[in-house]
Amino acid sequence: MSERVLEISNLQKSYGDNQVLKGVDLTLNKGEAVSIIGSSGSGKTTLLRCVNLLEEFHGGTVKIADKAIGYTETNGKRTRISNREITKDRALTGMVFQSFNLFPHLTALQNITLSLKKVQKKSNVEALEIANHWLERVGLPDRGDSFPGQLSGGQQQRVAIARAIAMNPLIMLFDEVTSALDPELINEVLDVIKALAGDGMTMLIVTHEMRFAYEVSKKVIFMNEGVIGVEGTPDEVFKNSNNERLVAFLKNTKF
């Protein structure tokens, strides 16, 4: 049996009266890529952000490598752990955002080395070595000294991927990483993610790129109104005709 990296059970999250996650269960084994699809407002981004504790959640558990993150529970009472521990839990995952979020005042290399040095306390030489390695892997070996403003959107997003993965996380989280890109730049980013999947990186991908989800994932999850509507292999999900919501959703998306 393969090693379980992520185990989400009965995850619940509300904004005031509005419950956005209504008990989500999801598991992810080492080396698996799982895509989450669904219309906006279905809770898929929120789900992803709960996994690295950028969002608080109000019920259920998230376990990474068999350790519950973010909260402790004693006698049925949940308490959020200290910020210091949350910071540690966050380091288990790496996240890539829709809007890149590179640090504009730092070069591509410095963007990657900053957390290697500050969080992992690596030496400058070591950090640079890792950063250069990953820049090469995302196809930007000679752009290390460029500032984000001097790079195209696709290049920026590839640097952001390198930055997250250089921290050697157990899971990579991709949050609609191509939604802010011009159509002609989407593929260069998707190709990088595909290559990472090919290397056996464990990843959870929220995406609107159906063909990409179909090609890259071992499992696809369709989220609808805060619950998992359908899940299965890409074939099972994309050729599913039993779930009305899914059929309607797929009809309205490009494949």
Partner: protein, 221 residues
């Protein structure tokens, strides 16, 4: 008739030492006020941005009250009103304090504006990478905020230098008061006020140019 050599150039020549002292005092008052205003202002600005409701309210009250009071009134207040509580500041100290307190309110507001203008994604990305808040602040937020603040901060420095003229009213012998004293001696009113204005212009212009230079140097590419 006695040959009173009252030619402008001669008068200017014999006033150089006085002006030098005046410039020195004006620059010291301004520099100390700017240092104080910047340190205090950044702290208050942090309170405005990240403080809890109590800290935020206190900071907001400080900023709004100080920004609503003319600097001249602040200067007089620090010099005269504080004596009620037995605090006797000499004119130089009162002047520095008043200008410092005043510029702190402006720096606080700039700091808040700059920090709040930084896209929330910057903080989220830092958190996601495992940086603590202080690491994020030092390496990610502050460097960006500083670049944004710089042009307005330079403006505050220039305003403070110009505001330092007002401490002449409590007897600090800075450029303006020196000018008045010289005029009392030679009655060359127009000419010496022109010299006074020229001196202020040179100081202000130099600061502005220097600011532009730094701005260009640290601009985000």
């Amino acid at each position: 008739m006695m040959n009173l050599n009252t030619g402008f150039w001669h008068e200017l020549w014999i006033s150089i030492d006085d002006f030098a002292v005046g410039i020195g005092v004006a620059l010291s008052v301004s520099a100390l006020a700017v240092i104080m205003g910047t340190v205090l202002g950044v702290v208050i600005g942090l309170g405005l941005t990240y403080g809890n409701i109590v800290i935020r309210t206190l900071a907001r009250i400080y900023v709004d009250i100080i920004r609503g009071i003319p600097v001249l009134v602040l200067i007089l207040a620090f010099f005269y009103v504080l004596t009620i509580w037995g605090i006797n500041l000499d004119p130089f100290q009162a002047g520095v304090l008043a200008l410092g307190v005043f510029s702190a309110a402006h720096v606080a507001e700039m700091t808040r504006g700059a920090l709040q203008n930084i896209h929330s994604g910057q903080r989220e990305a830092s958190l996601a990478l495992g940086l603590t808040f202080s690491q994020t602040f030092i390496s990610v937020l502050m460097p960006q905020a500083l670049r944004q603040i710089l042009p307005t901060w330079i403006n505050t420095v220039i305003e403070t230098v110009k505001g330092s003229t007002l401490v002449s009213i409590i007897g600090v012998v800075e450029i303006t008061l020196v000018t008045q004293q010289i005029i009392a001696r030679n009655f060359l009113t127009m000419k010496f006020y022109a010299v006074c204005a020229l001196i202020y212009f040179c100081i202000g212009f130099s600061i502005e140019r220097f600011g532009k230079y730094i701005e260009k140097k640290i601009a985000i590419k």
